[in-house]
């Protein structure tokens, strides 16, 4: 019997994760369906709740995104100046910062931050609603819970995460400019002008397209862990933790895969 145990567990985990991915996929399709044609089946998506979510996910995150992006920019400035000055290639700092921020760090840092702020909030909100039968109440009132709770969050995330990413790109580059222009003997303005001339639309697009994927990942993981909460307040806590850990793992893995294919 004991031989079989690990095998049984592997099987169960596999089934559970496939079921989880299937459930998330279904949520995605349903959310998009309600967003597109919900009004025709009596389940209209409320623009007001989309804007409310956009405020919570995007606008409220601006201070912390600014702080972190600025820090990352300065950090990259420090590291690149230290590393590149060994080869006497200090002038390459500008292009190194510009490309790494727009292609990688802007999107990644923003996504991790939003996963921690809003992904967990989604899981906690929907989780506590399912525990207290609020989700059931919505369903019996003829209000599709997916339409009411998931679709606005998905749309808001799809708009706000790319916007936040572009914002973070800009702030990080400004941070790098402030730190490294003295050591490069240029003014910050000159640094920024040089950055602008070095960046191509493709660099920005790499970050933005990743942000779309991250937005879908964060929302689906938050919403699906929220809807599948069982076991009271403790279950809500567990789901919140789970949604943050899962989102960050998926974000980093998806980022790696994207970087691989976009840079071939």
């Amino acid at each position: 019997m004991n031989f079989g145990r690990p095998l049984v567990n592997i099987g169960r985990l596999t089934v559970e994760s496939v079921a989880g991915i299937g459930y998330a996929g279904m949520l995605l399709i349903e959310s998009l369906y309600f967003a597109a044609v919900g009004w025709r089946v009596g389940q209209p998506l409320r623009i007001r709740s989309v804007f409310e979510q956009m405020r919570q996910i995007g606008v409220d995150a601006l201070p912390i995104v600014t702080l972190l992006a600025m820090t990352i920019g300065i950090m990259l400035g420090i590291q690149f100046i230290a590393a590149l000055s060994e080869f006497g290639a200090q002038s390459q700092v500008v292009v190194a910062v510009a490309k790494s921020v727009t292609r990688e760090f802007g999107a990644l840092i923003t996504a991790i931050l939003v996963a921690g702020r809003s992904g967990s909030a989604l899981a906690a909100r929907i989780g506590s609603m399912s525990v207290s039968q609020e989700v059931d109440a919505l369903a019996t009132m003829g209000i599709e819970p997916v339409r009411y709770l998931a679709a606005p969050a998905l749309l808001a995330m799809l708009v706000m995460l790319p916007v936040l990413t572009v914002f973070a790109d800009a702030v990080a580059i400004v941070g790098a400019a402030l730190y490294s222009s003295p050591s490069l003997n240029v003014t910050p303005t000159a640094y920024l002008m040089q950055t602008m001339s070095l960046l191509s639309a493709g660099d920005l697009w790499q970050g933005i397209s990743k942000a779309f994927v991250f937005a879908v990942l964060i929302t689906l993981i938050g919403v699906s862990t929220g809807f599948s909460v069982t076991g009271g307040a403790e279950g809500v806590g567990r789901a919140t933790t789970r949604s943050v850990v899962l989102s960050i793992c998926y974000i980093i893995v998806a980022d790696m895969i994207f970087s691989f294919f976009l840079n071939r």
Binding site: V41, S132, Q133, D136, A139, T140, M141, G142, I143
Partner: protein, 268 residues
């Protein structure tokens, strides 16, 4: 309108499973227009499961559930929505949305399902709050209400669309006797004033006998009997009398099964 005597709820041979355990054994269940039906039963009798099936929250695995003539196992989204608009549900814990004020909670079904203007919606939801004696409380948040007020607010939300059919899950659970008696009065008033058909799930005998026209007694997933209050009181079924007289069950231990449960590695 109610010239045709077709029942509002028709349940036919409903079976429900939870994993490998059978919760409902071929339940047949009809509720006619205008009656107050109480579903009574002890803990674990399957009454919550039956209610979840009646509300369409679970699709029946076998058997059919018809609400207002619509088979909810086969209904399209549209049909289901039409059914949902005509039923109201008051959940055990109230299930008010904690992010909305009491007034917004009550107005929610109107905002989602009608094109009424904001003034009308406000007046209608305040009217329903007056019906449940919560006039003036519309600006409070659900967390600021007491248990009895939450139940009454949930009732106001349940009746705001003037449903034909009202479900009430454990109206008196967790309330003091006075408040739960008031709720019972309220349920009776709703039936008389608004001509609603009401299904109440409860294990409180006193309140069940007070409000019921007919009582359905569930035990271990089967219906023991359905009848008027007097008929249930006089029933000679032992389990019903146990329930009525608060007698503990006599559990007969099967020695073999008992040993098996203790020793077997995989619990069945």
């Amino acid at each position: 309108m109610n010239t045709t005597p077709a029942p509002l709820i028709e349940v036919d041979k409903l079976e429900a499973w939870y994993g490998r355990r059978r919760i409902l054994h071929g339940v047949d269940f009809n509720v006619n227009a205008g009656e107050i039906r109480v579903i009574m039963g002890g803990s674990g009798s399957g009454k919550s499961t039956l209610l979840r099936h009646l509300l369409g929250l679970h699709k029946p695995r076998s058997g059919t559930v018809k609400l207002l003539g619509v088979d909810i196992g086969k209904a399209t989204e549209r049909e289901m929505l039409e059914v949902c608009k005509q039923i109201g549900v008051s959940f055990q814990g109230g299930a008010l949305l904690t992010s909305l004020s009491v007034g917004d909670n009550v107005a929610l079904p109107l905002r989602e399902h009608t094109n009424l203007d904001e003034n009308t919606i406000r007046i209608m939801s305040r009217l329903k709050l007056e019906v449940v004696n919560l006039g003036g409380f519309q600006d409070l948040m659900p967390s600021q209400l007491s248990g009895g007020m939450i139940k009454r607010a949930a009732l106001a939300r349940a009746i705001v669309m003037d449903p034909k059919l009202l479900f009430f899950d454990e109206p008196s659970a967790g309330l003091d006797p006075v408040v739960s008696a008031e709720l019972d009065e309220l349920i009776l008033r709703l039936r008389d004033a608004l001509r609603m058909t009401i299904v109440v799930v409860t294990h409180e005998l006193e309140s069940a006998f007070k409000i019921a026209d007919t009582i359905t007694v569930l035990d271990q997933g089967s219906i023991l009997m359905t009848g008027t209050v007097d008929a249930v009181r006089k029933a000679d079924n032992e389990r019903i009398q146990d329930l009525l007289n608060r007698r503990p069950r006599e559990i007969q231990v099967d020695a073999d099964a008992y040993l098996k449960r203790l020793t077997e590695e995989e619990a069945v």
